[in-house]
């Protein structure tokens, strides 16, 4: 028995002897707990406390009267939301955009991380990493402005280039062809977030025991095979956690990105493809329509479904992979 093994065995015995109480546990790691407090406070302040406002979904909320004096109307606003003619379209867009994000935006950083991991030249790897994660730090407002001027008809760079290359005769109105909207949206969000998203996976890959690769290569696995047999299974737990979170966000198809790419919803020609629940809520409450209660009801409808999806995904992950959030 080596010294370390001995120590491990001893600690196991210790553990069994006396399970430390929760309080003692917390006290033992007081420095870590101290760091958690701000986060807990933030969540209480910005996530739990505002939930009180959900009451307005069941009222005819009047901001001057406040929550305590507005009239209760039950499920009136939910009925209206579910029965409005745009409901089906809004749901379709929300779900389709979310699924596209799940199938394209979610795996994209993983693929990038795997590819970066195979790069041997450190300098090149660093440059690629830096370039790909920089757009993350630009706000959507800037990215939206950039995309809109790149794709503009009057002197937009993309159209100018395609015309100079004689690929098209007349400029294409990219942003006003409804069928292109999803592509532009997903493309932009992948470009913006791919680098930053890959950091987590790169960190997970860095944590893989090199002995596994050595053993695999002794067994005759090629570099390519090593990716599938060593790297991916090793980062699978991380991927699972992020996947559960992504599924829980399924109805959050995006908000800022859609808002800026539709010119603050003014470019309504694409609205058949761009209206999602969040933009619908925003439009109902803040774009000259002031239907606060109605918007609250629509938002709440979305949140409830999201919670259901999250629990469902968590259950499936626990059942089939023995890994889960909680």
């Amino acid at each position: 028995m080596t010294a370390t093994e001995l120590a491990q065995a001893r600690s196991k015995v210790n553990l069994k002897k006396s399970q430390p109480s929760l309080w003692r546990k917390l006290k033992g790691q007081w420095d870590l707990q101290l760091m958690v407090i701000p986060a807990v406070l933030l969540i209480l302040l910005f996530s739990y406390f505002p939930m009180f406002g959900l009451i307005s979904a069941f009222q005819d909320y009047n901001p001057f009267k406040g929550y305590f004096h507005s009239d209760f109307v039950g499920f009136k606003h939910f009925h209206r939301f579910l029965n409005n003619p745009d409901f089906a379209l809004t749901m379709r867009n929300t779900i389709c955009i979310s699924l596209l994000k799940l199938f394209i935006s979610f795996p994209a950083p993983i693929v990038l991380a795997l590819m970066l991991n195979e790069v041997n030249r450190m300098a090149f790897k660093r440059i690629v990493q830096t370039i790909t994660y920089l757009p993350h730090f630009l706000s959507w407002v800037i990215v939206g402005g950039l995309v809109m001027s790149l794709l503009a008809v009057d002197g937009g760079s993309v159209n100018t280039m395609l015309i100079k290359l004689h690929l098209i005769e007349e400029p294409i109105n990219w942003l006003s062809i409804p069928e292109y909207f999803w592509g532009i949206l997903i493309g932009t969000s992948v470009w913006k977030e791919i680098g930053f998203g890959s950091i987590v996976y790169l960190a997970a890959i860095a944590g893989i025991n090199p002995q596994l690769y050595e053993a695999a290569s002794v067994d005759g696995a090629s570099r390519f095979k090593q990716i599938f047999l060593v790297t991916i299974p090793s980062i699978a737990p991380v991927v699972t956690i992020f996947l559960i979170l992504a599924v829980g966000n399924l109805l959050n198809a995006g908000f800022e990105d859609i808002l800026v790419l539709t010119n603050n919803l003014n470019n309504a020609i694409v609205s058949d493809y761009s209206t999602v629940i969040d933009t619908y809520v925003y439009q109902s409450a803040f774009k000259g329509f002031s239907q606060y209660s109605y918007a609250a009801a629509a938002g709440m409808f979305k949140s409830v479904i999201n919670v259901g999806l999250l629990l469902g995904a968590n259950y499936l992950a626990r059942r089939y992979r023995q890994e889960s959030l909680f």
Partner: protein, 577 residues
């Protein structure tokens, strides 16, 4: 283990940075800037010095003793402008506001709408915390709700105490401003008076001087002329945007107003050219009627559809940011356009482009329409919007004192020409500044950097008296925008008093008319783009009848009923038949 720690630290730093960076990214859109219709007034220059002789009489700038506390005690208040496009000017950073701060002890804290005025206003209401002064639309639902809930200070008593506004405001104007309880809760901004003989207007058509000249200055009177001109431009200048329209508000490109205006008899001088604004005022029947009953409305959209689908009208109409439009106009890439604040936009572009800039044009109209009946605005004494003082203000009377002083000749002079001692030391008998040595030697660039006319909390018609008196000192120095405003002024329908249409948009949002109006706006936002994008005449016809059906179904008749009622009440109040 060590690398893991470093990685964690890095991620933490990045997260902090992200938070910090995202905090910097406010101010989404300063668009809709051009939305305001600048109906300003001219007065006073009909007298002695209109012939251009230099005024001999000069007088030193004197302190006004009718304002007891102004400049003596410190005054601090917050000021918020309830528009998406309005951005704070940075109080205290330019010579004028710095002077106000240092010499007059007036410290104004600007509150930004952050590019989303409605959201900002909603937050104020929900938190029951208001800025001391709010500038907002008269008769808007925001204003009405503030009055109903007792959040505003009535200014009736103050009006009698201070000299300027009492003198400037006509009794009829004051009566129109009264709320149902008989009190006055707002100071009109950029208001007018029946004592004004002249009108100027900032809105109209601009044509690219260079292109127009090279194409042989073809006639540009009718829409047929316009169409032919655009076709020529498209053919000969592939990089030029034949016609552009400024910003789109609620799905309404500005050009709609100008095309509808050209369809005949005062169409743009009367409300309204869009279903989002309600119905069309018909002076003959004395009724607010459905816009769909007016064949000109459909014709307007049909013409716009034609321009758009033949790619004569900018294909970026609905997707461009205000900055993109600005870039096009300032680089001389637009052949012709009709926009609000054409005088201001044209001035800016002409400063950059010099001889290759833009010229103003008369309103273009439909073939066969009597050009003398094509008008772009009526005369309203109520002005553009209101400055209101909220109950949050600690010393409302002192704020009123400041605003009254600002409306006076001295205040309006400072607004236009900066504080005394900067470019003038003395004023003439009309109150216009007399250039000092520095004003005679200053370059245009230096003058631009002074940011005069940057801070405008309140405009009164003394403004134009002073500006006109200044021009009269030396007419050869008249600026392009001043000439443009006078030129566009001929398209003001002098006989139409727009005060009678006050509160046309003031319906309670929870009333039947209010709900209908909200739904119509939502429909218009979508349908207007579809009308533009319709591929051929048949598709347009189908889309237009769908549009009409949807608007009618949403309760358009209720909006019309509200406006008919409001109109009748206003007419009664003003004594108009």
């Amino acid at each position: 283990m060590k690398t893991k720690k470093t990685g964690f630290a890095l991620i933490t730093i990045m997260l902090c940075l992200t938070a910090a960076l995202s905090a910097c990214s406010g101010n989404q859109n300063n668009e809709k800037r051009n939305e305001t219709s600048n109906v300003e007034t001219n007065n006073g220059t009909k007298g002695g010095n209109a012939d251009g002789t230099k005024t001999e009489n000069t007088q030193p700038v004197v302190e006004n003793s009718e304002y007891p506390t102004l400049g003596k005690e410190e005054l601090k208040f917050s000021f918020y402008v309830n528009y998406d496009w309005y951005a704070p000017v940075g109080y205290g950073n330019d010579p004028t506001t710095k002077w106000l701060k240092d010499t007059k002890k007036i410290n104004i804290e600007e509150v930004s709408s952050g590019g989303n005025a409605q959201q900002k206003f909603g937050t104020m209401v929900a938190g029951d915390q208001y800025p001391d002064v709010i500038q907002l639309d008269r008769g808007s639902k925001e204003f009405n709700s503030l009055v109903e809930n007792g959040k505003l200070v009535a200014i009736d008593d103050y009006l009698n105490k201070y000299p300027a506004l009492k003198e400037l405001l006509d009794p009829e104007t004051l009566n129109s401003l009264r709320s149902p309880d008989g009190k006055i809760y707002g100071i009109p901004n950029w208001f007018n008076s029946t004592r004004n003989p002249n009108q100027t207007l900032g809105n109209g058509w601009l044509v690219n001087r260079k292109v127009y000249k090279e194409l042989g200055q073809p006639k540009l009177e009718t829409f047929d002329d316009l169409y032919a001109f655009l076709k020529q431009v498209k053919e000969k200048y592939p990089n030029m945007v034949p016609i552009d329209t400024g910003n789109v508000t609620d799905g309404n490109p500005m050009l709609v107003d100008y095309i509808y205006a050209g369809m005949g008899d005062n169409r743009n001088a009367l409300p309204t050219s869009n279903v989002t604004g309600g119905g069309r005022v018909n002076l003959e029947t004395s009724q607010v009627e459905s816009l769909f009953d007016d064949p000109a409305y459909k014709e307007t959209w049909k013409f716009l559809n034609l321009l758009f689908r033949e790619k004569l009208l900018s294909q970026d109409t609905f997707t461009q940011k205000a900055e993109q439009f600005k870039e096009k106009i300032n680089s001389g890439r637009i052949a012709i356009m009709a926009i609000n604040d054409a005088a201001g936009n044209g001035k800016e572009a002409n400063n950059i482009l010099g001889d290759n800039g833009y010229d103003f044009l008369p309103l273009i109209h439909k073939t066969g329409v009597d050009a003398s009946k094509v008008k772009n605005a009526g005369v309203g004494t109520l002005g553009w919007n209101l400055d209101v003082i909220t109950t949050s203000a600690k010393s409302p009377e002192r704020i009123f004192e400041f605003l009254d002083w600002w409306a006076s000749k001295e205040g309006q002079r400072i607004m236009n020409f900066g504080p005394p001692g900067l470019l003038y030391d003395q004023v003439d008998t009309n109150g216009a500044p007399i250039d000092n040595e520095k004003a005679k030697t200053i370059t245009d660039k230096e003058k631009q950097d002074l940011k005069l006319f940057n801070f405008r909390p309140l405009g009164s018609w003394y403004n134009t008296i002073i500006v006109n008196a200044k021009t009269a000192q030396d007419p050869s120095k008249e600026t392009w925008d001043s000439k443009a405003s006078k030129f566009y002024g001929q398209f003001v329908a002098k006989e139409i008093n727009t005060d009678q249409f006050n509160s046309f948009q003031g319906m309670d949002p929870n009333s039947e008319a209010g709900v209908a109006s909200q739904q119509i706006k939502q429909i218009a936002l979508k349908e207007h783009t579809k009308l533009f994008y319709a591929k051929d005449d048949a598709a347009f016809e189908a889309e237009f009848s769908k549009y009409m059906d949807e608007v009618n179904k949403a309760g358009y008749d209720k909006v019309l009923a509200y406006q008919n009622k409001t109109w009748a009440e206003n007419k009664k109040q003003l004594g108009i038949q």
